[in-house]
Symmetry: C2
Subunit: 270 residues, 2 copies
């Protein structure tokens, strides 16, 4: 089935907006306009997409079919009312993992609304392939859901409907699986740099750690000294971190948490 395309306005020009805008444009959707509070960001993304840029909410195009709002959570609520005025009949969606669907109900006059949340870590410098990215949808009525499914399916093979509550859990899980994981990489890099060793040394380990959970549940994939709380090794590591009290605390708490999870699993088996 050929999906019909239609004009889209992109509200936001950050990491997510950049990746989503480029993916939609490649999928054949004309991006009419990019809004951002920063002229530099608006122009940069509009330049990539070959469309108009604006920093003035009042100048938002009025004739797009779909308005995709990819602003920081804190900016969303303050900016929306002004943007929507005069464009209440259009279809509005936001892209935030942590914001419920019903945020739209607080804005007078909006009748068609939804959420299109692509769960991925996006950076402007790195355009990702959307094909396998879960795109999580929510909408206020079946007609809107159908339209969102059509759009999302042109980008990804991994589209599903979830509730606001589920999306919140997914977003929180993503912070653990991505942001905290990446920070563990950053802390590891710091430890190696102190001994003049390159971060690249860790890449095969990082790759295998990620690959492993494709076939084993993370709990079973776990290795290392914390599972049995090997005092011998753990004490050496805590000593080595004596100059980094914050990392020392993280090390202790994460090791305890690993150990407790392993103990619970053992109990479950007996």
């Amino acid at each position: 089935m050929e999906t019909s395309t239609f004009p889209i306005v992109l509200v936001g020009a950050g990491n997510l907006a950049t990746n989503l805008g480029c993916a939609l444009s490649r999928a054949g959707f004309p991006i009419l306009q990019v809004y951002s509070r920063s002229q530099e960001s608006a122009s940069a993304l509009a330049g990539r997409l070959g469309c108009e840029a604006t920093t003035n909410p009042e100048k938002l195009a009025a004739d797009a079919e779909l308005y995709i709002v990819a602003l920081k959570d804190s900016a969303l609520e303050t900016l929306l009312p002004e943007m929507i005025r005069g464009r209440e009949k259009r279809f509005w969606v936001h892209t935030a993992g942590s914001i419920p669907l019903n945020i739209w109900e607080r804005i007078p006059g909006v009748k068609r609304f939804g959420v299109l949340y692509p769960m991925q870590t996006f950076s402007k410098a790195r355009l990702v392939d959307f094909r396998s990215i879960p795109i999580l949808l929510e909408a206020n009525a079946p007609a809107q859901m159908n339209l969102l499914k059509e759009v999302a399916s042109t980008l990804s093979d991994n589209v599903r409907e979830v509730s606001s509550r589920q999306r919140r859990a997914i977003h929180l899980a993503a912070v653990f699986a991505c942001n905290f994981t990446n920070h563990c990489y950053a802390l590891a890099e710091k430890l190696l740099a102190a001994e003049g060793l390159p971060f690249e040394l860790l890449l095969p380990l990082i790759d295998e750690t990620a690959r492993k959970v494709h076939t084993l549940p993370p709990q079973e994939a776990q290795t290392g000294p914390a599972i049995r709380y090997d005092e011998n090794v753990i004490q050496k590591h805590l000593d080595a971190l004596s100059g980094e009290p914050e990392m020392q605390t993280l090390y202790r708490l994460l090791s305890q948490s690993i150990h407790e999870a392993a103990q619970e699993k053992l109990k479950g088996k007996n």
Copy 2:
């Protein structure tokens, strides 16, 4: 250059010994014997390698060229003296990231010793490809180092000499980049399970998080609410974790640590 192979005794039958034994065997080294304190583990690995199993340190073969000790750190020091007696002229290496080379000096009579530390997360159920795994070597003399380099090079293209101090830092970094990372996956799984959602949903994110640091330093690859300490989102997440005080503490500390690292980076730029 054809590497000459020679008989090896494997002391240990855990995750690392299993992976290393299978890799050495495939590379053409005859494994003479497997020792483990557990008959079950010794027999399982000896069965895979087609060699003899023993649980008696006194029955260790006396005529191997190389003895690779892959025991838990806590067992190592207690078991070694007994094992080595009568085999002092052989070449002994251990495989532990956190144990210094000089542990061998405490054992009377041993003249040729070293360390062969393959840095990877190993599980018995999953044989990994050694080709890209860093194998980190240390030895008490050039002749031993050369032999270890020969052996390691038959397994991996990523062989390097490191000091005990560097190896300790690498091992600690590996705990962050692998064990703690994997635990973040496990905690994320728990959050999804509570909402009836499958862990598989996170795999594209986990893969991209790992892939990303091949081209961006982890610090630059970071995304999410903690960078600018977005109170709005972070407070929602902490509320959602109110039933899991331990995860709540980890969430708070990791977010603060991400935020501080981002602030330090900004300061460095100004």
